[in-house]
Symmetry: C2
Subunit: 364 residues, 2 copies
């Protein structure tokens, strides 16, 4: 087991990464003090792993709430149901809420923990690659409205993250690859050497080879922890973690939440961001094409879905939460491992990126 | 105008208290920067005062959401409606949400601000005495579940509180007296001299005489600001502000939210707390009777409503949010201006307090 630390003064917490951690009863119990535990999971993950927690906390009050799987359920209604459940089972302010699942479960359980009696203890046990390398770390929680993703939420740091890499063996291929998109993101935004390592071990990663995968998760979490520690509430640099997300969120919103996996939308979004970076003169065409090739190497789609048109994208940006006083912010590439947040995009270049059918390859 | 400061490092903010502040355009504009303003009010207060804000911000995007009046509407559904409204009107993360109303409006608008895009700027313009002296200061926000008051919420400090004492002139008598209950509370918990001042000016206060009332509001806010600054998230001393609230919340829950005003329930709750303090040997019978007489002097009911029985109260305590690992916490009086939080109450004494029909006067 490797343990990283997210350094946030009195809100600091460990990220434990390793194989078989769900069977490590001592670790689980150390992360969950108190006599009440509420486990929030979904109908895919719960049947596989919830029993491990029930066994580890046999001497406590442990209640399991199983939500329907999928981004389309990440709503105020589902989240309100978590609160009704906590009230029905008599959970006190001193309870611990444990998220056992992917990003959707983590976002909703975390937002419930942020707001249960004005803030309860929260532990993340992410079971997808995307959740292990991204959404479980950093304290962003929330739910979607019809108008946009994560429009309602809170910053609420977990007390611990337990990433058991063993559970990734049974992850569906599509979800696994969507997670690799976020792993690649860390290379693009912060670490050119890591990007080289990833591109040098594509086949090992696609085969889920333990060493390559564990190292990719550790490095991803280390980058995220470092960025979050420097800017917890995204007042500055943390926004670099949104590379590909302005485009990606718009695509998710237009297609309807759940049509594409979040990582799949981010994958296309990163290629669109590379295309826009090239059009803005920040990187060369070869470099933009390299980002596209890297995404493609991990089996991810690299073109905007045909049903998503320019007008819909521009409309979607109008209510993207990254808007500051009416200007849309994008994270653009300046070079390998180097990106920058900017709201200063010539609209005609943005339109070229939205209109082209061959990103990073032709002029509009 | 008098300005007090709530000292919370980077979350510090001013409380402005004075007559006619709603007409002070410069003050209003200084407290609400940015180009978007969302005013949340109710159907009693909005028609009286919302136009002042519309006029003050004629050059900005200002949207007014009018909620139905009353504690029974302090629900997840009403709060979710605030978010839908913000999304429909295209409010960004940089918007300012202004609560114009009493405690219910402030709690819901504040919780919406806490959670809109993970945290938006929030300004309190309290229009009831209770909100001016208590709920608008300190950052507690939230909504009720059927199972209990404020079970879902967040700590989210306002950027400013603007307490215009002129608006209290038209406050219904019942609401005004309910507010005086919280004013009295500050005397009971923290300031014997202030309590003497209040008891020496009962007729002036009941007549809403400007000087007496303004001084009472200032001293109440100063005490609250000092307590909150020392313990923002109620990990210790802040709980003394809940004097009378464990009993009061239970009564409100049993009768149904909105049957009694919050201050009315707290008034009875403080007399019950005095009774229990006496039974626990913390204060003498004369002192307990003095607390009861002080509450009665301000025209507030001092006996538990006949329809609220002991069993219902004990049941209600079971899901009171002040429970820590199954033990109910009470704030008990040790003497004038001196209280203490304790979970160490002999159950037979608690039952005597719940059963007596003459609080602070007979033995059970």
């Amino acid at each position: 087991m490797k343990t990283l630390q997210v350094a946030l003064a009195e809100r600091s917490y460990p990220i434990h990464i390793g194989a078989g951690l769900l069977d490590d009863v001592d670790l689980l119990r150390a992360c969950v003090p108190g006599r009440q535990v509420a486990v929030v999971t979904n109908d895919v993950v719960g049947p596989l792993y919830a029993a491990r927690l029930t066994a580890a906390f046999a001497d406590r009050q442990l209640d399991v709430l199983t939500l329907p799987d999928g981004e389309s359920h990440k709503t105020l209604a589902t989240w309100g149901g978590i609160h009704e459940f906590l009230a029905q089972r008599g959970h006190h302010r001193a309870t611990t809420i444990v998220a056992l699942g992917g990003g959707v479960v983590g976002d909703m359980a975390g937002f419930a923990a942020a707001t249960w009696q004005r803030g309860a203890r929260f532990v993340q046990i992410p079971t997808t690659l995307l959740a292990q390398v991204d959404s479980s770390v950093g304290g962003k929680t929330g739910v979607n409205l019809a108008a946009g993703k994560n429009l309602v939420g809170a910053f609420h740091q977990p007390a611990a993250v337990i990433a058991d890499t063993s559970v990734l063996a049974t992850l569906p291929e599509r979800e696994y690859r969507a997670g690799l998109a976020e792993v690649l993101k860390y290379g693009f935004i912060a670490d050119a050497a890591f990007l080289d390592t990833l591109l040098g071990s594509v086949s090992e990663l696609l085969a889920r080879e333990t060493n390559a995968l564990t190292q990719a998760i550790e490095r991803s979490c280390a980058i995220k922890a470092e960025v979050v520690a420097g800017d917890e509430r995204e007042e500055g640099r943390r926004a670099i973690l949104n590379f590909g997300h302005t485009f990606g969120h718009a695509i998710e919103k237009i297609l309807g939440y759940g049509e594409l996996l979040h990582g799949e939308a981010v994958a296309v979004g990163m290629v669109m961001a590379a295309d826009l970076s090239w059009r803005c003169g920040r990187i060369g065409k070869t470099e933009a094409a390299g980002i596209k090739a890297a995404v493609a190497a991990f089996g991810l789609a690299v073109e905007r879905p045909a049903s998503v048109d320019t007008g819909a994208m521009l409309h979607a940006f109008g209510m993207d939460k990254k808007v500051v006083d009416g200007r849309v912010r994008f994270v653009l590439a300046n070079g390998p491992g180097d990106v920058e947040v900017t709201a200063d995009i010539p609209e005609h270049l943005l339109r070229q990126t939205l209109q082209t059918t061959a990103l990073c390859e032709q002029d509009g």
